[in-house]
């Protein structure tokens, strides 16, 4: 078995007496989609925060791509190839879709202390941004201000931004949140097409999406991983059924 790209080793975080992350260990292998599911309040968002670098764990280590990134801030982890999307879409609303992706490409190319050239006339950069948009079906929306895109398009744009950064792992925080049935199906197709190209840690509420995409699923309940396994194993796991699927089961 190949070396995992991301390893969470015994992460703990507490807010006062409340243990939101309780000895969480899991890993993501290259090319794999590993989903984390759990009921509301299970600590999914806090876990994402610690992996992305927005929050510091109280104890435990995070290894990414062979190095310990526990102490690295978010922007340094992004540079290393750990890219996240946000539960509540986080795009640059006054920029066009193209400018959003171009800025991500620009970040990947090194520092941006470049003052002389007009960036909007950088043909090579724009062409690459357009290629990134086209990959997610946004090619006709390149000149539209990101703030006026539809919700589903914003979701796709977030993905295009993350992909422009040269990710080794995509950390997807509820990418289906707030999307309609049709848009969800489209996003599932998009993610399925990307499967194998990037490792993904998918935190998601939408059960049908999770079971359609994931190679492995970990179930988080009250800050603890109660089970990890293939979709079939998780579906048949009695503990999981009791803790979670029982109330929100999806056929």
């Amino acid at each position: 078995m190949t070396e995992p790209i991301l390893v969470l080793d015994d992460l703990c975080k507490a807010y006062g007496a409340l243990k939101v992350t309780n000895h969480v260990s899991l890993d993501v292998r290259p090319g794999e989609i590993h989903a984390v599911i759990g009921p509301n309040g299970a600590g999914k968002t806090t876990l994402i925060g610690q992996i992305s670098g927005a929050l510091a764990p109280d104890s435990g280590r995070i290894r990414f791509d062979g190095r310990d990134v526990t102490a690295l801030p978010m922007h340094a982890r992004a540079r290393a190839g750990l890219l996240r999307s946000f539960q509540i879409t986080e795009i640059l609303p006054a920029f066009t879709a193209r400018e959003n992706v171009a800025l991500a490409l620009q970040a990947r190319e090194g520092h941006s202390f470049r003052f002389w050239r007009n960036v909007s006339r950088d043909a090579a950069l724009n062409a690459r941004a357009d290629a990134g948009l086209a990959e997610l079906g946004l090619e006709t929306r390149a000149d539209v201000r990101a703030g006026t895109l539809s919700h589903g398009e914003k979701r796709a744009l977030e993905l295009a931004i993350a992909m422009a950064c040269g990710p080794k792992l995509l950390l997807l925080d509820e990418p289906m949140a707030g999307t309609g049935r049709e848009e969800t199906d489209r996003l599932v197709e998009v993610l399925r097409a990307l499967k194998g190209r990037y490792a993904m840690l998918l935190v998601e509420h939408d059960m049908s999406a999770v079971f359609a995409l994931a190679d492995r699923i970990s179930v988080l309940v009250y800050g603890e991983i109660v089970a990890t396994g293939t979709p079939e194993e998780i579906r048949d796991n009695a503990k999981v059924r009791e803790a979670y699927l029982g109330e929100e089961a999806v056929a």
């Binding site: 992004a78 946000f86 640059l92 970040a107 941006s112 202390f113 002389w116 000149d143 422009a164 950064c165």
Partner: protein
Amino acid sequence: MHFTPARLSRELLGALVVFTLFAGLPVLADLMGDTFIVFFTIRVMVFAIAAVSLSLILGYGAMVSFGHAAYLGVGAYSVAILAEHGIWDVTVSLPVTLAVCGLFALVTGAISLKTRGVYFIMITLAFGQMAYYTATSLSAYGGDDGLTMWGRTEILGSTALGDRTVFYYVVLGCLLACYLIARMVVASRFGRVLQGAKQSEMRLRAIGIDPYAYRLVAYVIAGMMAGLAGALLANAAEFVSPAYMSWHRSGELIVMVVLGGLGSLLGAIVGAASFLVLEEVLSHFTQHWRLIFGPFLVLVVLFGRGGLISLLPGGRKND
């Protein structure tokens, strides 16, 4: 913001109109035999430079500096203190002025930019007041009373700046240069990072950019530009005083930028001109001119969300 060709040419057109007006004014004043208007417009252009510099960080970087007048003062005092020691030449005074202002911006910016929102406003105000009280306590250089310069900066030994018209066009050249530099910075990769950080700092961190260093560099550029305005102000008045860096002055600079239109460099120039013209005209009618100016400002902010610039043909609304 994206410059489509149509919008770009409108912005260019606006700039062309504004700078043509500035360039033609001394000729017009000569015909009318009115010299006051030339002195007045020099003042307008000096404050326009300061407003452009503030617009760069306020309009494009969302850094609400309430101590920006400090750079006017530090720039003015640099020139005047050098002159007091017999150093008049621009080859020395300009680099020294820019270096001092740049250093002051680097140190205070490095600290201020650790804070956000209202704390940033307060800390820049505090640094501005520090500069103000330092100037009032410089008893060797006039203290409260200020310091008179017995002449103007020399250019390689020439006293050409003593000529009103030459000085006018030098100030206009500085304004044009600052406007073009600011435009270039805004449209560059650097400018895109700055404007991105204004919209969402979290988004920038998530793609691997820490905005701090970019904001700091923008802050230093703006500080140096305002310092240049200060040096010109000292030359225009042949006098410097702590009043240049009072917090009222910082507030006026913010008003100029907002009045002209946040997120438009041309707007900052139009805002500075409108502010000073209104102040001049209204104060002829009554010494309580602010009673009229205040409601006017409220109306502009309420109904012209893009500032005065959005009402002009070359205008562009804030993104």
